[in-house]
Each structure stands twice: as C-alpha cells, then as structure tokens.
C-alpha cells in the first residue's frame, strides 16, 4: 500500500501540504466542505479486424477535481494535469459557489472506518503488461471465431485495459488511496447467409489480471459471439404483445438495473423525481424477490474498495422479500436525507462530481429449478441475453433489448427469435415474478452505465426468473 500512498507525492509532488493548501483555497470563500479527487489513469485498447491488429491506442490522463459544498449547492471544477497554478485556479472556481448564498448545513460525514477489503489484488494489471500476451488473446479469439462456422464473415476482437490510481482527500478526513485495474474483452462476429447480416457479441472482464483468461478463454468469447450471430440467421420474427417471459440467469439482471436500480438512486428520491420516491417500506415486488447492490465482490467490474468520495463500499439491501428497504446514497444525498452513506458515490473521472450510482446489482437465488420454470410456460418468451436498456425514472417505464431469445411452446424452448425489446413499468414489474431459480449467476463483466453524461462500470446478476407478463416489442401481430 506504501507505493500507492506515495505515488502522487513521489511522482507529482502532491504532498499533504499541497492538499491542505488546495482545500483551504477551495473553502476560502465560505464553503462548508471541500474534497479533492486526484486521478492518474493509463489505458490501452487493441482491436483486431480482418485478422489484422488494426487499432491500437494508449493514453495517459491525469488531473484533479475539486468539489465544494454549501447547503444543497455544489461547486465543481477540475484541472488537467497537476500544475500548481491550474489546481489553485480550479480550487478557487469550485469555491465560488459559496458566494452565491444559501443556508448552511452540517458537513458531509467522513468515511466511518478504514477499508477492510482489498477486492482486486492484481499483481500485474493488463494495462501495465507488455504487448505480446495481450495481442495473443486477440489472435486466439480471431481464429476460434473464424473456425466456428463458414457463415462467420467478419470478426472483431477488442481488448481494453486501464489502471486508475486515485487519491481522495476531503476537508473532513484522511487521504484515501486506491489503484483500480479494469479489463474488458469483447468479440463481435458478423454472420452472413448471402441474404442477411446478423451480429453476435460476447464479452467479459472485471478488475482482473491475465489469469482471468485461464477460466474464460478468448476462444470461449469468440465461439459464443459466432454462435449467436449464426443462430440469428435462422431466427424468426418475434410475436408482439404481452406474454409470460422467462429471463435466463446472469446478464438479464440488467432488468433489475433498469427497472428498479436507477429509481432507487437517492438523488432522484431526495428530489421527489423517481417513481419510487417516498415508498420505503412498501411492497414493490413479489415476496420471492430480494435485491441487493454490492460493491464488495472480489474482482468484479462494478466493485470498488472505496467509492469515489472515500466511503467504503457495502452490500445494501434494496428490496427484501418484496418490500422496498433502502436507497443507494452518495455523501450529499445521505447528508440531506439524514441517512448513512452506502458507498455508492461514483464518478466517471476527475472531470465529474460524484452521484449516487449502482455497483453490482443482483437478485438473490430462490427455490425453483430452471427446468421447472421453463416447463411452467405454455406460450411465451425465453430471453437468454440482452443488449442495452434504458429507463425513465420519473414515469418508471423501462426497456431492454434481447440479443438472444427463444419462443417457449408447451413448456419447451423452441425457435430462436430476432432481437425483441421488452418494455415495462419499474414499480410493478417485480410484483409479477412468480418463480425464482435456485442458482444465482453474475454477468461476465461488460456492463457500463450512463447517467448525467457519466459512464461507470457496473455489474448485474440474477437467477433464472419467470415474469408472468411483459410487453414484448415484436414485429409479428399475434392472432387476436
């Protein structure tokens, strides 16, 4: 940990005195609380297309974000690089918020305890590794995808790695350091049968090192992407309208992220903007549903030792046996709502102020077997994997689009169908969950969540579940 603690000091001369000077500059005009977020991020990305390593890029970004709070008001400024004058100017700009007036309130609560977890002890993060082994991953994927089927026309494999070192210091507490590795590997295949093109995508990763690929080989991702693309060549049109839907385990947990997760981020609730505002203690799901947000899972994409305002991450119960239990807080929402921070204050980089954000969001396992769940449906949809989703947190309406789905007919999984969008209402979708599988799966580590123009890595997970009715946005009218 010592190397890390000294990183910003040794390399850029950012001493304890520098931090204190910046904090006092930031507070000079009367702000109540200030924090500094120093970040040094190295990143590399490699893309192989047509079996040629075509796009390689590397970047180093560094800077400091300065935040000043004054009641409900936030002043934020950042500087690229660690030039004294630039950092001081940012501190003054953030501090100007205090001049705009407003009621005083107590400062943010500082991190309650030191971290007791080191969730990603990766000795050699991929962003700091030599090129050869990284390029070999892409070559293996490229070969495996092309070998899978003659209808695979194009293969694109991408490996993106970063290591983000941070130093967080607030006017209320001691400095906090972290080094956050992140890797994502993704293969996309285009299949063609001469009449149509279809795409299949599969990826995975996390806060992991090269050994991640021992259990999840590049060939595995490649074959899955190729299988999906080829499968879609034979897929049928999707029936349109409401029907029972079985969601497969793992990545379909994006349902939880969109349908209820965003609506439980405390900033929206503090302001009364969410369809879930003021509903703590109410029944919002069937008794089979317990949903948590857990930033403490080792090596996971959505995990953090600390959130981006120095609070240790936690496991937060959002829904317990169907009852709404809590929101996800950052420091500001916790202060203003008189709650305890839950370690959900996150930001994309030093260029942004933190917001309440999800980490890894998933539903706990139930009692049913997958076979029982599928057998219970006489006519419906079985959605195995999804692309992206989106929610309107105010009306509660959410959508997400299947990238691999099948019809269920007479309790059996039959024909594959083309990408269908499922649409529903967040506050009532989970009340229709009638079966929950006995095996929880987490996603493979590709999720990125966007909010207020900021992207952060997240995880999702779910056992297989049955939802009695979801509207499926298909292209084929059903017999009325």
């Amino acid at each position: 940990m010592n190397d890390l603690e000294n990183f910003f000091g040794n390399r850029f001369g950012i001493s304890g005195e520098t931090q204190e000077r910046l904090l006092s500059t930031a507070l000079a005009r009367g702000g109540e609380y200030a924090d500094l977020y120093f970040e040094y991020r190295i990143k590399d990305t490699f893309a192989m297309e047509e079996s040629i390593l075509k796009n390689s890029s590397t970047s180093v970004t560094m800077g400091v974000g300065v935040r000043v709070l004054c009641g409900e008001k936030t002043g934020y400024a950042y500087a690229d690089g660690f030039d004294e004058e630039d950092m001081s100017r940012a501190a003054r700009a953030a501090g100007a918020i205090a001049l705009a007036g407003g009621a005083a309130s107590p400062p943010l609560r500082a991190a309650a305890r030191p971290p007791d977890h080191d969730l990603y002890p990766v000795a050699r993060p991929l962003a700091e590794l030599e090129l050869a082994p990284k390029i070999r991953l892409l070559e293996e994927a490229d070969r495996a995808a092309r070998r899978y089927d003659t209808r695979v026309a194009e293969v694109r494999a991408v490996l993106a790695n970063e290591t983000k070192r941070i130093l967080f210091r607030s006017s209320e507490g001691d400095p906090v350091f972290d080094s956050q590795p992140l890797t994502v590997f993704q293969v996309s295949c285009i299949a063609s049968d001469g009449k149509q093109l279809q795409v299949g995508i599969k990826g995975g990763g996390g806060r992991v090192g090269l050994d991640f690929f021992d259990s999840r080989s590049p060939s595995y991702f490649a074959r899955e992407a190729a299988r999906r693309a080829v499968l879609l060549l034979q897929a049928e049109e999707v029936p349109a309208g409401p029907m029972p839907v079985v969601l497969g385990p793992g990545w379909p947990g994006i349902l939880l992220h969109e349908a209820i997760g965003h609506g439980l981020e405390a900033d929206f609730n503090r302001k009364g903007l969410s369809a879930f505002s003021g509903r703590i203690g109410e029944k919002v799901a069937s008794a089979l549903c317990t949903v948590v947000d857990d930033g403490t899972l080792p090596y996971r994409r959505g995990s953090l030792n600390f959130d981006d305002e120095g609070n240790p991450t936690e496991r937060t119960v959002l829904i317990e046996k169907g009852t709404l239990r809590g929101y996800m807080h950052d420091g500001l929402s916790a202060k203003l709502m008189h709650a305890v921070p839950t370690g959900n204050g996150r930001r994309e980089s030093y260029a942004f102020a933190p917001l309440p954000r999800m980490t890894n969001t998933f539903m706990l396992a139930g009692r049913d077997t997958g076979e029982e769940i599928l057998r219970s449906v006489s006519r419906g949809l079985y959605a195995v994997s999804f692309g992206g989703g989106q929610v309107d947190i105010t009306s509660g309406k959410f959508v997400f689009t299947a990238s691999e789905a099948y019809l269920i007919e007479g309790g059996r999984v039959t024909a594959p169908v083309k990408g269908a969008t499922l649409i529903g209402n967040g506050p009532d979708i989970l009340t229709r969950v009638s079966m929950v599988g006995s095996e929880l799966e987490l996603d493979e580590g590709v999720g990125t969540c966007g909010k207020a123009g900021q992207n952060v890595p997240v995880g999702v997970g779910m056992p297989m579940i049955r939802v009695d009715e979801i509207t499926v946005g298909g292209t084929r009218s059903q017999a009325q």
Binding site: V60, G81, I190, Q198, G241, A353, T394, G473
Partner: protein, 450 residues
C-alpha cells in the same frame, strides 16, 4: 496556451516522432473551457467550471498504425507518448489501407465557416444563472400541475482545435456552443411525468428566449399526463422531430464508412439503390450556417464539405474518412471524428433529413388512426440487420386529431422498411443536435402494447 503555443507543441511532437523513426505522423490538440450553471426549484444547485486539454497522436510505421493521447503537455510526457505509440505501431499488423490522407485531399481551400462567437464566455456568471432561473420559472408558471423539476441548466463552451501532420498541413479553429435546457415534472392522480426542452446554438445572441424554452418544456411534460397503454396494433406512425432524429442517428451509423468496411451495416453494397421513399433527401453538411456540428475541417485536417447521402430515396454516398474511403475506393467526405483520447472513426457533422413542404399539423390531420411518437428509448436498433424495436411514448391520433397520451409501448420493424415507408416529411426541421430531422410519417409499423 494560445494557437502559436499549440502549434509549437504539435510541431515538436511531430519532430520527435519522425526522429524516432515514424514514417508519417499527425497530431491533434484540443484545449477548451466548459462552464455550466444549474438551478433547481429557483435555487442555484451546481456551478461547474473546467479547463481541459488533450493531445492525440497517430503514428505510422509504413502500413502499421497506432494512436496515443495525453492530458500532460510536459516535454517528458511528449517523449513517452511518442515511444508508446511507436512501440504499439510496430506491434500492429500490416494494414494495406492504413496511412495519412492522400496529399490531394488538402488541395481545396479550408472553407470559411463561422463557428466562434465570443459573447457567451464574456457573460457574467450571475447572468448565466439568471437565464437558467428564468427558463425554469417559465416552466413552473406555465401550469399549476408543474410541481417539481429536475432543474434548468445553462452551459457554454469554447474549444480550440489544432491539427498538424507530417505532410506539412497545420490548421486551427475555435468553436463556441451555448445551451439552455429544462426538465419539469408534472403530477396528477399520483402519476408523475417529465419531459424536457432545450435550445442550443453556437452564438449566444441566436438562442431562443429562456421563457420560450421553459413554456415548451412544460407543454411537452403536461401532454404526457394520463398516458396509458394501447392494444397491440399496426398503424401509421408520426415521428416528432426529436424521435425522427433518433431514427436518423441510426441511419447515420449505418452509412458510416467505419460500419461499411466492417460489413456491419444493412446498407452495405446499396450505393445507387433505393433505400428510402422519394421524399427522403439526407445530407451531411459540415458548413451549415450555425449548425451544431459545423467546422472548417475534420479530425484529419480535411476541408469540410456538404455531401448528399440519400437523394430522393437513392443512396448516393457513405460518410467517409480517409481510411474507409481508401478501402472502398472513394475520397474522404471529411467525416473523420476523433476525440484525441481515442482512435479516429467516421462520424456525422450536421447530418439531417431535408425538410418538406407540409406542416406537422397537416401530417397529423392526414392520419385516421395512428400514433405520434414523441420519445424513443432503448437500444433496440440493430444497424447490422436493420432490425428495429424501441420503447416509445406519444399521443394517439383518432380521426386526424390528438386523442390521448400513450406510454409503455414499443414500435418495431426494420430500418430499411421504415425509410422506404416514409409517406410525408414535415417543414419543421430544427437543429437541436448534430443529427436532426423534421416530423415524418411512416406508413405503418407494429405497435406492441397490451
């Protein structure tokens, strides 16, 4: 830094890279300042201010290429930037189409397009807060059912861009943008709705009055109150300009040279073919007066132009940068987009569907039973297969008249069929982003509901 400093830095990095053995090099530098002020419930909520900078480098070792970027402008960092990029380029594969644009790309004079207006950055902070505040107040005063707000935000930015390459090209420009937006909430019968409106311009003096933005946002929010699902049906679809722009965004991705060379577009191999109804003419015009995406040259320094993409329904050109152009056998259309942090790829400048001669009111009046789509959400547009299925909200039309608001439905079809099925194009083209469109009528689509 001023332009001369940026040019000196770029030339130094070029020299370093050429000295280290690169066969060709380009450097792009962006420096800028961003400001935003947000007001919620008539109180200041956030003030943000930033000065940022990035230097992006692309090096070639013959037919091998790599890019690197940094926010650190020190001399020691420049050396590392160059050595990292060269190491990566040498590890890359030989790509027969890799290289700087051909010298003749730079023959046209860089066009004179005005994209920099100083007024916004000179406006006092209190006045900017005042604009956001007036905008939100107008939304609240529009109707007592507006009970809450996500806030109103005023933002402005000034960006300086400099491009230099080893062919001797070196050009620079500065650009301003100002925006004002508000998102009010309305509530009735325990159900909440929100919508938004905005104005965005290069020139502060051409911004819509804040009250007008607030009133429009309130109107858009109020008309959603009482929204319900409808039965699954197949009906004509009227896309309002923002919804039509969302579909056009998918089209801009499908005609991008980056997608075409990857065989990842349903429009691959369709040049010269009918891909839309005769009413459809789509243009990308980087020189549009006051256009949000206007600029004198692209991220490869290539002078900007106006390109007809679809003329009266026939696909006439793809959007191209030098790489995709070379691979497909065409000249670049000046559509290289590059954030200095990433790799260059193709993107639109001002990509729009040309307005027609009929008003949105007349379009709605022509529909017996159908759906006006006011918002599309989700990621259900697949530009590889053309499959399309998106979440929608809007207004039901009965006998040519708006009847009631609709939500929690999807519209589905295929992007090609949707383009071919356009039966009317409105006269209400409005540039609220780099991709924009007027109201359009699509003959029929499946609406999935209850």
């Amino acid at each position: 830094m001023n332009t001369a400093d940026r040019e000196a830095l770029a030339r130094k990095v070029l020299e370093l890279a050429l000295g280290a053995g690169a066969s060709a090099v380009e450097v792009i530098i962006r420096e800028g300042s961003d400001f935003s002020a947000s007001v919620r419930l008539q109180k200041l909520e956030n003030l943000q201010q930033a000065n940022y900078r990035r230097l992006g480098l692309r090096v070639f070792d013959g037919k091998r290429a790599a890019v690197s970027a940094t926010s650190d402008f020190s001399t020691s960092s420049a050396g590392k930037l160059v050595s990292d990029a060269l190491e990566m380029a040498r590890a890359a594969g030989e790509d027969p189409w890799a290289g700087l644009p051909p010298p003749e790309s730079y023959a046209p004079k860089i066009p004179d397009v005005q994209v920099c207006f100083p007024a916004a950055s000179e406006l006092p902070v209190e006045d900017k807060i005042g604009l956001a505040s007036r905008c939100e107040r107008a939304a609240f005063e529009a109707d007592p059912r507006i009970t809450n707000s996500e806030g109103a935000e005023f933002s402005d930015k000034l960006v300086h861009t400099l491009y230099c390459n080893s062919l001797g090209i070196c050009s620079a420009y500065s650009k301003t943008t100002v925006s004002l937006s508000v998102t009010p909430l309305a509530e009735s019968d325990g159900f909440k709705q929100r919508d938004y409106w905005l104005t965005t311009r290069l020139d502060l003096s051409r911004m819509e009055p804040p009250e007008q933005v607030g009133i429009e946002a309130a109107h858009r929010t109020l008309r959603r109150l009482g929204a319900r699902k409808i039965k699954t049906c197949e009906v004509p679809i009227v896309l309002e300009p923002l919804a039509a722009a969302a579909v056009l965004k998918n089209i801009s991705e499908a005609v991008s040279g980056t997608a075409i060379v990857r065989k990842a577009s349903f429009l691959m191999g369709k040049l010269g073919a009918r891909v839309a109804s005769r009413l459809v003419t789509i243009r990308d015009d980087a020189l549009l007066d006051g256009g949000p995406g206007s600029r004198p040259f692209d991220a490869e320094g290539i002078p900007s132009q106006s390109t007809v993409i679809v003329r009266e329904g026939v696909l006439e050109s793809y959007l191209l940068d030098s790489y995709s152009g070379r691979k497909l056998g065409f000249r670049s259309t000046g559509n290289s987009n590059r954030e200095p942090n990433g790799s260059p790829s193709v993107g639109p400048a001002n990509f729009f569907l040309e307005g027609g001669s009929i008003s949105p009111g007349e379009i709605i009046a022509s529909v017996k039973r159908g759906l006006v789509v006011t918002e599309l959400i989700g990621f259900g547009a697949d530009i590889v297969s053309g499959n399309y299925s998106q979440g929608a909200s809007g207004i039901w039309i009965e006998n040519g008249q708006p009847a009631f608001p609709v939500e929690e439905v999807t519209i589905a079809g295929n992007l090609m069929d949707m383009m071919l099925g356009i039966e009317a194009v409105g006269d209400d083209l409005l540039a609220l982003g780099e991709v924009f469109a007027p109201t359009v009528l699509i003959g029929k689509m499946i609406v999935s509901g209850s």
